[in-house]
């Protein structure tokens, strides 16, 4: 008799994917400026390590919150016993206001519609449990965060059907792609329950345009399905544009308090904007009270530690801090991104023009031997094992075109970033392709790529995706 569940015996956890293998390699030989200067530099980790000093200085100025006190009195005992799955009211209020501030106070969030979860990992899984039966499908634009294969499908039994996006228009979501994905799901006999987008996008580092958001809302309205907008990078927007949330679009289309608005849900987390992934603070925001009610009960499986709720409610309630933090965070991210982008350009590498996120979507198609995913993996292995940079190959993000890589920039010091770029430049210059390219022939590269894109763009059906990610 089989003694373990099929969840254990299959590899639905998705950790056989190259995305996670790169991490494992890093663990074996991690870079350290002093003790291991030839070690692997971690560029596969989308973490925000740029603003801890701001939080630490806030802690120094706020000893009560820092030591679990209120008005000088220890409230340790009360916190130790607080396990109400509705969460701390002051924390949810502070979260709601922070989310509003990130959206320029153009939309309001009702704290009562917030459900806390142990990170957005748990929030996304919980939402899928609430919206889908085993075998139902969600449409996701590619490329997407590899963790979704685990978070959305593993224990829920749901399926993901990709919405193919291509470099020809900067990977934007088109109407045709949406319709095609929906039809593909139907061909596979899968009931589509909704669309899930990440905005700003991981791994692209771009925020969805108003046009795309309108398209999505119209699409889910006509199909009578859900829209989940994972907005965990909303506070990392550093471009000139404002971040437009799906909530903005509902408001502009006058769809607030309608039946459609009940099918639009936002997922948030403090892991990226505040750089606190260890604290496991995730949230679901929904206008549907049945979903809020069910998700709240499910949050029992992953509540936020009360001491963490208390600390962060004090932090986020300090409006002077939050506005200063958001502004400074954006400044530092922008500066770091610029550093990466110019360093890449010096090596003859371009990337998708990004305005958010903790990473760049880098174009290394010209470094491939052939325009195939095998060649991409070969290139990736060279970069991981020879150049000693852990970056994430596009195939692990289900990208339909080989040659794209996600490179993170906010989880290391400037010096480390410079070293990584130096190593990459050296590697590129040592390859055949690299010898062709010098800084002055950068333009030739761009026109070369345009031709290759039009010759080589092709659709790959989702069922023959890299097999080891199942």
């Amino acid at each position: 008799m089989k003694q373990l569940s099929t969840k254990v015996t299959s590899n639905g956890h998705g950790q056989d994917s190259s995305y996670f293998l790169g991490w494992e390699e890093y663990e074996k030989n991690p870079y350290d400026e002093i003790t291991n200067p030839n070690g692997m530099i971690q560029m596969g980790l989308a973490e925000n390590q740029l603003c801890f000093d701001l939080i630490e200085s806030w802690l120094a100025k706020n000893p009560d919150a820092a030591s679990l006190k209120r008005n000088g009195q220890s409230i340790f005992k009360e916190l130790a016993l607080f396990q109400d799955y509705h969460g701390m009211p002051e924390f949810k209020k502070a979260m709601a206001e922070f989310m509003e501030e990130i959206r320029g106070n153009r939309v309001t969030f009702d704290p009562k519609k917030i459900v806390l979860a142990a990170g957005s990992t748990s929030a996304n899984e919980t939402l899928i449990f609430c919206l889908a039966e085993p075998g139902d499908a969600f449409l996701l634009p590619t490329p997407y965060y590899p963790g979704f294969d685990r978070d959305l499908k593993w224990r829920t039994g749901a399926e993901i059907v990709p919405i193919h996006c291509s470099s020809s228009n900067g990977f934007q979501i088109t109407e045709a792609a949406l319709q095609q994905a929906y039809q593909q799901a139907q061909k596979l006999d899968l009931k589509v329950k909704g669309v899930l987008v990440t905005n700003p996008s991981n791994p692209l580092g771009t925020a969805l345009t108003r046009r795309e958001l309108n398209l999505l809302v119209d699409f889910i309205t006509s199909k009578n399905i859900h829209l989940i907008s994972d907005e965990i990078y909303s506070g990392t927007m550093f471009g000139f544009e404002q971040f437009i949330s799906v909530m903005d679009v509902l408001k502009d289309k006058k769809l607030e308090n309608t039946e459609v608005s009940k099918r639009v849900h936002v997922v948030y987390s403090l892991s990226k904007d505040l750089g606190l992934p260890g604290f496991r603070v995730g949230a679901i925001y929904s206008n549907d009270e049945m979903i809020v009610s069910a998700a709240t009960k499910m949050s029992s499986f992953g509540l936020v530690s009360s001491q963490t709720q208390y600390l962060l409610s004090a932090l986020l309630s300090d409006k002077k801090f939050t506005s200063q933090y958001l502004e400074e965070n954006q400044k530092r991210l922008k500066s770091r991104q610029r550093r990466l982008v110019s360093g890449l350009e010096a090596a003859g590498i371009t990337s998708l023009r990004s305005n958010a996120g903790l990473f760049c979507w880098v174009d290394m198609r010209h470094l491939l031997d052939t325009n195939t995913f095998e060649a991409e993996l070969e290139l990736w292995k060279k970069i991981v094992y020879n150049v000693k940079l852990n970056i994430s190959p596009g195939s692990s993000c289900h990208c339909t075109e080989p040659g794209w890589f996600r490179v993170c920039f906010a989880n290391m010091s400037e010096d480390t970033l410079d070293l990584a770029l130096k190593r990459l430049k050296t590697f590129v210059e040592s390859t055949d392709c690299g010898r062709m390219i010098s800084r002055s022939s950068h333009e030739r590269l761009k026109s070369l790529r345009k031709k290759t894109v039009s010759n080589w763009v092709f659709r790959v059906s989702w069922s023959d995706r890299v097999p080891d990610e199942r």
Partner: protein, 495 residues
Amino acid sequence: MVSLATEKKQDLNLLSRIASGDGHGENSSYFEGWKAYEENPFHPIDRPDGVIQMGLAENQLCGDLMRKWVIEHPEASICTEQGVNQFSDIAIFQDYHGLPEFRQAVAKFMEKTRNNRVKFDPDRIVMSGGATGAHETVAFCLANPGDGFLVPTPYYPGFDRDLRWRTGVNLVPVTCHSSDGFKITVEALEDAYEKALLSNIPVKGLLMTNPSNPLGTTLDRECLKSLVNFTNEKRIHLIADEIYAATTFGQSEFISVAEVIEEIEDCNRDLIHIVYSLSKDMGLPGFRVGIIYSYNDRVVQIARKMSSFGLVSSQTQRLIAKMLSDEDFVDEFIRESKLRLAARHKELTTGLDGLGIGWLKAEAGLFLWMDLRNLLKTATFDSETELWRVIVHQVKLNVSPGGSFHCHEPGWFRVCFANMDHKTMETALERIRVFTSQLEEETKPVAAAPMMAKKKKKCWQSNLRLSFSDKRRFDDGFFSPHSPVPPSPLVRAQT
């Protein structure tokens, strides 16, 4: 304009069955008691007539020791001046292996609470979102939808949600009887196993809570061995929920399954798993520290990946690591906690003894299994519910009726005692005294006027809103109320 009814129907179609059903278990009438408490919570000064919460199994007796330690050890926090140099490292730490010092400290603590008679390997410790998260994860790892776990009754009502709701797993009750102190017998196990097979439910494991919730009893070595042997023979898993391990306070010692498997030759350890938590032993439910400890390498591996859905906040891991590494503090805490639990338990039982109310002899847990069978009009669960409603709404004590724990026999109630101070306990006992004396008055045989006696007996029932529509707890077809047991005088039940 869509009508409300149609809108609701549309809502239901847009939600999964899991979300729109009541697998969360919160529609049980059991929650009426909680509601009554929330609407009118007792406070010695502001609300002296409010409902006293005796339905919450929390350990609040040693909060002062904990608070003192936290104040004296600011370096344990990553937010204070003394600890902030660790802030950024801890804030970014989301490795699902957990902080090594956290796992080591928890392993040590688990050893201490088992009197250092067994060793725990820190590398087998997997985090989860409280024991709630641990149970669900274990179910996901060991069973497929439609499979079943055997669970001895009475059992913690939360298992219905934790093990079944999102996993699709079934719970198959193993009936235990008061006649032998609710012991788990091999006969009962075999019986339940057969019943499951007849219903086409493949049995994947046996889940037992030791010390028991709601009984407060601990399993002796012989019984534990029989459970290990039974599960090994059937090649099914044994999940030991040991979250009350450090709450033993009497003569009887806590024996962990970890100890027993060392004594069984050729024990298949791949089938042995422990669920643990700091919520009860340390009184820290708010910090969500759940632990899965499995002897099966593959289960450890996969449960660890699943722990991404409910990791312990790194801030909390750090604090706990520091606290539990302070061995002097831990020893003092465990010692003092047991003393205070013993004292509070004695206070309650002495009070009940004085009123002639029976209770199951037990020396662990944060609650008492109280015997009110002889106060039932009839030996039925309807009668139990009636009595319970009187206790909640008139006596104003939120106790938990045995039916909600799937107890086989009506008339038992779980009464928590570690979540209140001494004065509140006194008040609760006084209310019980008043209630029982009222009952005695009303049921005193009056020779000349039998009609009056009957009428008086009905008095305490007259305020009740009797509703027998909620029979959901009987609908799994595995047990039904037995025929009425003849009434017996108020005696203390003995094991």
